[in-house]
């Protein structure tokens, strides 16, 4: 296939604006999927993706399309994950394309992820074709949305396509726009192989399948290839295309999108963003933009039952096969026993992993409050990166830096006050305010990531009645005035409750935490003092009074079995709680810590 008959494109959108539904329609209209095999969100293969309406893994699919000009085209759709946590993956997917469909809901208009994705696409040099979706709905205002795109984002909306992905109206026009507005790929079919790895997946029978976009050269079975970042060499076992199931082909050449099997057993050996080249004819330069996926959010994950530790390790190992961004190392908490300190791309990534562990591996888990990695600059001139508040040293810290994010919040103007108040309370520094239209404003804020990882998004939603949307990108480390807040039970610090918080709010936070804990820790055999401390100084104290009475009246008529069952149940209940020193802590206490909204 000649390059000018190929189009590589992706669809980007804010969540729920209809990205996956539009993809479904394009698959249908091009008869890539027969109507018999059609299910909703064809490309979202995980149950979790369909349930949550989000795309977690990138997918690719080849569409054969005869355009109105009578020519046959190959349209490669690269479906990208739709969440800020996966920005790096999104940017790699975008790098595999020449054009992007920017889907915007005709009544919702431009949202934070619209802004973020549009910016990514424009920065990546992609031709952006706006698609105004859901025009069949009563509240649709396509003209307003076009204005928002033009005035707010500077995107030419004159050739925007109006569609209803639900009914299929306008789907053909979208395909025409792809052919006519997006440029074909450029590349050297005869040059040394350069293929961008934009994703990978693990197949339990065949090993790692590598998703590639060829820029130069060709690739076929039995070729020796090399990964340019890692240097690993492998022999190609199969190449193919997604239509949408994997279908092997003789070769892939410049401009095309497909998959490669090369006997790779571990997803860690293949990095998203890396460049595949020929082992014998090595390209001079790799394709630009490779980075290691960096975990940004960390939390401890512990099995509720100590005996589940091995199962948890196996489950994490299995998930990691398919998720290079997940990392974990053993952690031993005095409060929670043996578990793992896990690193995630962001909060959604954390939630997804935890949910998959619980659902697919039937594990009962306790997760500690998510935290970020702090950079400690020590008085002796060294630097320490800590991912767990309990690793904060008692002395020798000169200053501390924490990661910041550049947040984009899009909201109706009437909620701007509420949004700014929230950002201010979370130590935010305001940036630009842009009016996208009379009904939508974009507010930029610089915020410490740690202020966002707990409940920022939920609170933002509730304070704006669900109207505001949020997107962000990481923005480096900056110094902050932070202290370590410890929670002590019966005078001993409980590592799982430690947190690093801003000095200004440490007192309020400590007071709030001990009050909450007093309510959720049941009476024990003894009085349990709960204290909050900064350094060695106690800043707040509450007491759980000693249990005074716990005795059943009688064993009537010799019914000892019943009494025994009662005690066994009581014991069972106790076993489901965590024993920290002498104190028994219910799981609720660990969850309560996560809810910090004052």
């Amino acid at each position: 296939m000649k390059l000018e008959h190929i189009r590589n494109f992706c669809i980007v959108a804010h969540i729920d604006h209809g990205k996956s539904t539009l993809a479904d329609r394009l698959l249908e209209v091009t008869e890539t999927v027969s109507s018999r095999d059609m299910v909703e969100q064809v490309l979202d293969r995980m149950d979790l993706e369909r349930e949550r309406g989000i795309t977690i893994k990138a997918q690719a699919v080849k569409l054969d399309y005869r355009a109105k000009n009578g020519r046959e085209y190959i349209l490669n759709l690269i479906d990208t994950p739709g969440h800020v946590d996966f920005t790096y993956e999104v940017s790699r997917s975008l790098a595999a394309c020449e054009g992007a469909l920017l889907v915007v809901d005709a009544s919702q208009g431009v949202e934070a992820q619209t802004v973020a994705n549009a910016n990514l696409a424009v920065e990546g040099g992609l031709e952006v074709v706006p698609v105004i979706n859901k025009i069949d709905l009563p509240g649709a205002e396509p003209d307003r949305v076009k204005r928002e795109l033009e005035d707010g984002l500077g995107i030419d909306a004159s050739e925007a396509v109006s569609v209803s992905a639900k009914t299929g109206e306008g789907a053909k026009e979208v395909l025409e726009a792809i052919v006519n507005l997006m440029p074909p790929p450029t590349g050297e079919p005869d040059g040394p192989l350069r293929a961008l790895v934009f994703d990978s997946a693990y197949d339990p029978y065949r090993g790692v399948v590598v998703f590639v976009r060829l820029v130069d050269g060709t690739i076929k079975k039995r070729d020796k290839i090399q990964m340019m970042a890692t240097g690993r060499v492998a022999e190609v076992e199969e190449v193919g295309v997604f239509s949408p199931d994997m279908k092997s082909v003789d070769r892939l050449s410049a401009g095309e999108v497909g998959y490669v099997f090369a006997g790779i057993k571990d997803v860690q050996e293949i990095k998203v963003g890396d460049t595949l080249t020929g082992a014998k004819k090595i390209a001079a330069e790799p394709l630009p933009g490779y980075e290691d996926a960096k975990p940004m959010v960390f939390c401890g994950i512990f099995p509720v039952e100590g005996g589940e530790y091995t199962n948890l390790r196996e489950a994490l190992d299995k998930l990691k096969l398919n998720d290079a961004a997940l990392n974990f190392e053993p952690e031993n908490s005095t409060a929670l026993g043996f578990g793992f300190r896990c690193g995630f791309l962001g909060l959604l990534h954390l939630e997804i992993i935890k949910e998959r562990l619980e659902r697919e591996y039937e594990l009962d888990l306790l997760a500690t409050a998510p935290s970020v990695a702090y950079k400690l600059l020590m008085t002796d001139g060294t630097e320490k990166l800590i991912r767990n508040p309990s690793d904060y040293p008692n002395a020798g810290v000169e200053r501390i830096e924490e990661p910041f994010i550049a947040a984009t919040i899009v909201t109706p103007p009437e909620y701007m006050g509420a949004v700014m108040e929230l950002c201010q309370a979370r130590r935010g520094q305001p940036g630009n305010v842009t009016y996208l239209s009379e009904t939508r404003a974009q507010i930029d804020y610089s915020l410490p990531l740690s202020e966002v990882v707990l409940d920022f998004y939920d609170v933002l939603k509730s304070r704006t009645r669900g109207y505001a949307s949020l997107d962000y990108e990481y923005d480096g480390y900056r110094e902050s005035d932070l202290v370590k807040l410890d929670i002590l039970l019966t005078g001993k610090p409980v590592d799982a409750f430690s947190a690093i918080v801003s000095r200004d709010r440490a007192y309020d936070r400590g007071k709030l935490l001990v009050e909450k804990l007093r309510k959720v820790i049941p009476r024990q055999m003894f009085e349990v003092p709960i204290q909050a401390a900064i350094g060695g100084r106690i800043i707040a104290r509450e007491t759980v009074k000693a249990k005074r009475k716990d005795v059943t009246a009688k064993c009537y008529g010799g019914d000892i079995s019943r009494k025994r069952k009662l005690l066994e149940r009581q014991k069972e209940g106790k076993k489901r709680m965590k024993q920290v020193g002498q104190v028994t802590i219910p799981q609720d206490a660990f969850l309560e810590i996560l809810k910090v909204e004052e």
């Binding site: 716990d550 008529g557 000892i560």
Partner: protein
């Protein structure tokens, strides 16, 4: 030592806190049920026919007998007939303790005299509380006047050992009210007092009521109930009652031997609907519904065979109900397992925490007593 328990599953009306195996409005079943009891007493069904347990059930001579319910008085003529038959069959030791539960409203001279004549020698009167408002709220059929009158009536009939059952921790009850109940009960001169802490049993009408919003159903706070228990211990000790079991107090010589046998892991045969039996680590129980008990030749509904570990934990948690505790040497002799060895770290902790005494016996301290269940859980 073996005990015999005879259960009467009938009541005139059900009390709202009760979840015992008892039914109101079953008068028509009294005759058939009484005959089934007599039958069962002569040839008890045991889940392992031909076993040593069956031989024991059919031949042992009972040193304690306890008629409980429900309301045993509703058995009518079968009440005395059952005891008489067992005595005639030589199943009752001459010096046996023979107890009967009785509601104050049934304590009439004629019945009391016939009971004494047929061999009952200990009465347990269900006073519950001397507070008419609370008694009415609990749907009891007596008032405090009837309660107070029942004791002299028992004495007049010739009963030399009388217990009074009291409950604390009731909705609407205060420390002050409880003290008054205790003091008046002591003044009436019983030989034994049981003070049971109210347990809200799931599924009872009371459980629903206390969950509701009615202020009159609010339970005293945990601290208040704990204080009531302390008051009972103080007042009864000063009045000359020995605290010998978590809920039980007796004048010297009046401890309830039947119940002590339960706490010491002894053997007992239970007859009647839902009654439990125990013999050397085997436990079985009769069919729960009175109709089923009457109609089935095989009256055993279920059984369990305790393993050594279960027997050990039972011996401890039951033994801990006794104030003097339980002798680990005795347990080792009976079961071949040494509690001090099996539970060494738990015992060490409970002792250093002040829940259990330092000494040769396994026993709760004054601090441990009101927390008995929490302590016992450690041995499960």
């Amino acid at each position: 030592m073996s005990g015999l328990y005879v259960h009467t599953p009938f009541c005139r009306t059900r009390c709202i806190y009760c979840d015992f195996n008892a039914y109101a409005g079953c008068e028509r079943l009294v005759g058939p049920y009484g005959r089934a009891l007599l039958e069962e007493l002569q040839a008890p069904t045991v889940f392992k026919p031909g076993s040593a347990t069956e031989v024991w059930a059919r031949s042992t001579v009972f040193t304690t007998v306890y008629f409980g319910g429900g309301n045993p008085a509703l058995l009518g003529p079968y009440l005395t007939a059952t005891l008489k038959q067992a005595t005639a069959d030589g199943r009752i030791a001459p010096d046996a303790e023979v107890s009967l539960e009785l509601n104050p409203e049934d304590a009439e001279a004629e019945l009391l005299e016939s009971l004494l004549a047929s061999g009952f020698n200990r009465l347990s009167l269900g006073w519950q509380v001397l507070d008419d408002a609370i008694l009415a709220q609990l749907c009891r059929r007596h008032d405090s006047e009837a309660a107070l009158a029942s004791l002299p009536a028992a004495r007049a009939a010739g009963f030399k050992s009388v217990n009074i059952d009291l409950i604390f921790g009731l909705p609407g009850q205060t420390s002050l009210g409880w003290r008054s109940t205790l003091e008046r009960a002591v003044a009436a001169g019983p030989d034994h007092i049981s003070t049971y802490s109210l347990t809200i049993e799931p599924g009872t009408p009371l459980a629903k009521l206390v969950e509701g919003s009615g202020a009159q159903w609010r339970l005293p706070a945990e601290d208040e109930t704990a204080r009531m228990y302390e008051e009972a211990r103080d007042i009864l000790a000063r009045a000359g009652f020995e605290h010998y079991e978590i809920s039980n107090f007796a004048r010297p010589g009046h401890r309830c031997r039947h119940n002590i046998n339960y706490w010491q892991g002894g053997d007992y045969l239970g007859i009647g609907a839902g009654a439990h039996s125990h013999h050397h680590g085997l436990r079985w129980w009769c069919r729960l519904a009175p109709e089923d008990f009457i109609d089935n030749a095989d009256r055993v509904q279920g059984f369990e065979e305790l393993d050594d570990k279960q027997r050990l934990s039972e011996r401890i948690f039951l033994g801990l109900r006794m104030i003097e505790g339980v002798d680990p040497g005795e347990i080792k002799r009976d079961l071949g397992l040494c509690p001090e060895h099996v539970y060494s770290s738990i015992l060490k902790r409970l002792r250093s925490d002040g829940m259990m005494i330092h000494g040769p016996k396994l026993a709760l301290t004054s601090m441990g007593l009101p927390l008995a269940d929490a302590v016992m859980t450690d041995f499960m």
